[in-house]
Amino acid sequence: MSETMTGAEMVIRALQDQGVEHVFGYPGGAVLPIYDALFHQDKVRHVLVRHEQGAVHAAEGYARASGKPGVVLVTSGPGATNAITGLADAMMDSIPLVCITGQVPTHLIGSDAFQECDTVGITRHCTKHNYLVKSIEDLPRILHEAFYVAQNGRPGPVVVDLPKDIQFKAGSYVRPLSNQHKTYRPTVKGDMDHIRAAIELMANAKRPVFYTGGGVINSGPHASALLRELVQLTGFPITSTLMGLGAYPASDRQWLGMLGMHGTYEANLAMHECDVMINIGARFDDRITGRLDAFSPFSKRIHVDIDPSSINKTVKVDIPIVGDCAHVLEDMVRLWRQGAKQADKVDLQEWWSKIEGWRARNCLAFKNSKETIKPQYAIQRLYELTKDRSPYITTEVGQHQMWAAQYFKFEDPNHWMTSGGHGTMGYGLPAAVGAQLAHPNSLVIDIAGEASIQMMLQEMSTALQYNLPVKVFILNNEYMGMVRQWQELLHGGRYSQSYSESLPDFVKLAEAYGAVGIRCDDPSDLDARIMEMISVNRPVIFDCIVDKTENCFPMIPSGKAHNEMLLNDYLGETGADIGSVIDEKGKMLV
């Protein structure tokens, strides 16, 4: 059943065979044959971005919101290097992508030809895998293998570097029958003995806590459903990382909020005091563990992860379970039910009352104002006024990102897209473009900072071109707020280069793009303005002028343990000096 076609046609055919609906890309000399092949069909829709980094972030947003791999097409040289930040971002956050890069013809490789760069060399460390296609015979296999590798095991970005002469060559295309890869076969089913041991440990726990992460989202909606079942069956408290938000409904009583550096008091103290920690698809990131030698000192730990290299990387665990979250959770639920397991009711009750005590501190409380919009208040209102529409939220990077994570409540997986591991400013707008393409009739909001938004602002034009009504909600504090906060903590409040000078008029800017601009600086007007934003079916830039001095709490300063958290009221009414809380050693750790 093989068909003869050119390499460029094979690319498009493979995308079609993989069920790809959208490709995010930008043309150039080394991919012109592929663009020509695109021209002759209408199954795969090309989305023309304005910068290749934007293409990758858009593909990431699309992937996270849809559960399907994102696809990127860029030219050689500058096209490929512009895509690097996006690839590194997808690598850190385990996002499945296939990125096709054009390359100079094979006979010119290595000659410093026009727009040549060593794409496989440069991307080796920021992709899960990459290929340089050297012959047309290899192309069909490599294209399909790229999709397999991107999606299976721990997901990640895969680059296929395709020289221009091979795009022109004719060859025979066959869709491989088997998905099996000859070397790469990740374990998805957990070891039953370890799972049984985990269930035993959980049933005997006195102070258990679930700590879940992006792996549950990666594993698909079924994993989230099973997680909910297990958490409810056991009655244990649960907290999630930034990447794991939405896997468990934030409205539920057993939910403690996010943990980590800017996590809640109750989540972090539960982690600190627990005797059994059940990590499902999280990777003990340093934003979570803080000081390693003081991390969760009393716990026995279970760790479910599909990537064996995540296990015992920084934190030693007692029961490792290598496998896919959904598979392992299914076994756990079954064994828990079968054995009619139940942790000691009295112990659990005692644990919960301790947790309720921490919760009563109300660590996310803030002092609201009638004069200026507090950023926390802005997110709270945004949440309240949009929650009925089950919006998709993306963010940039900074304080606004943390406030979004703390004050927006996520009920479902795949509704929250943020750059966690790489922390890439500029991620949010293109990711919103991708999410909107995946869900054309849903409300998609990029919660942004005035500094971050300027990094990928050109993607407004993409939103306009494709009639994507994304909303950019800027918490404009006229500062790189997160940098300013650290300068207060570490460098005596010397705000070196962290003031957002010469800001554009965001309302006029929106209008210049053909979008709608809205500004609000009055708390009493905020609701009406937000309603206005969500009622227009066009892209909007909302310039929300917020308190310039607000800092993001709670916070575990670097080098401190979970029980040494800074709370909002630490500052007192006057906003006293926070510069003294991190010692010399901690300053190294930021």
Binding site: H181, K182, T183, I311, M588
Partner: protein, 181 residues
């Protein structure tokens, strides 16, 4: 600023460092060596020796032998990280699977006259080295042995006119009837 500390493990636990020999079976595809070497440099692992050649021509399979050092947890990380590279078939820790046989080959050129020359010949025969080339003023010897033997040989030869050394690095294999493929 005096206490330069990092955020990462070693701070709280000092574990002993051990030497491990790993056999890594890989698909012999372009770039595979760069992937392995890049993994070690990118993640800051040590390489004491690395050898690679195709071992099964038809199947395009190569075997890479890596001698590395690290704490037990670093060695475990190295193995997990190697295993998740797409073209890697298998990683076997020959140090854990029992006493493996390990050999390397070295070529040594010594230049000298008189007593030095005589002493070089005596040492070479004591170690069982083969003479591959000789002139009136020089020898090239070949010695195959464990890393320790090779190093002892080289050290002794330094005293008698060693001018050049070329070593292959370690090739290793587990003892016994079982193969790793």
């Amino acid at each position: 600023m005096l206490q330069m500390k990092t955020h990462y493990p070693d701070a709280h636990r000092v574990e002993p460092v051990n030497r491990h020999t790993l056999a890594v079976v890989v698909d012999n595809e372009p770039g595979v060596l760069a992937r392995i070497a890049g993994l070690f440099s990118g993640r800051g692992y040590n390489i004491e020796s690395l050898t690679v050649t195709e071992t099964e021509h038809e199947a395009h399979i190569s075997r890479i032998t890596i001698v590395t050092t690290g704490t037990d947890s670093i060695i475990q990380q190295i193995k997990s990280q190697l295993e998740r590279l797409v073209p890697v078939h298998r990683v076997v820790d020959l140090t854990l699977t029992g006493e493996a046989v390990e050999r390397e080959l070295c070529l040594v050129k010594v230049v000298g006259k008189g007593d030095h020359r005589v002493e070089a010949m005596r040492l070479a025969s004591a170690f069982g080295a083969r003479t591959l080339d000789a002139t009136l003023t020089s020898f090239v010897y070949e010695l195959t042995g464990t890393t320790d033997e090779v190093e002892r040989f080289i050290k002794l030869m330094m005293a008698v006119g060693l001018v050049e050394v070329s070593r292959t690095g370690v090739a290793a294999m587990a003892r016994g009837a079982e193969g790793i493929m």
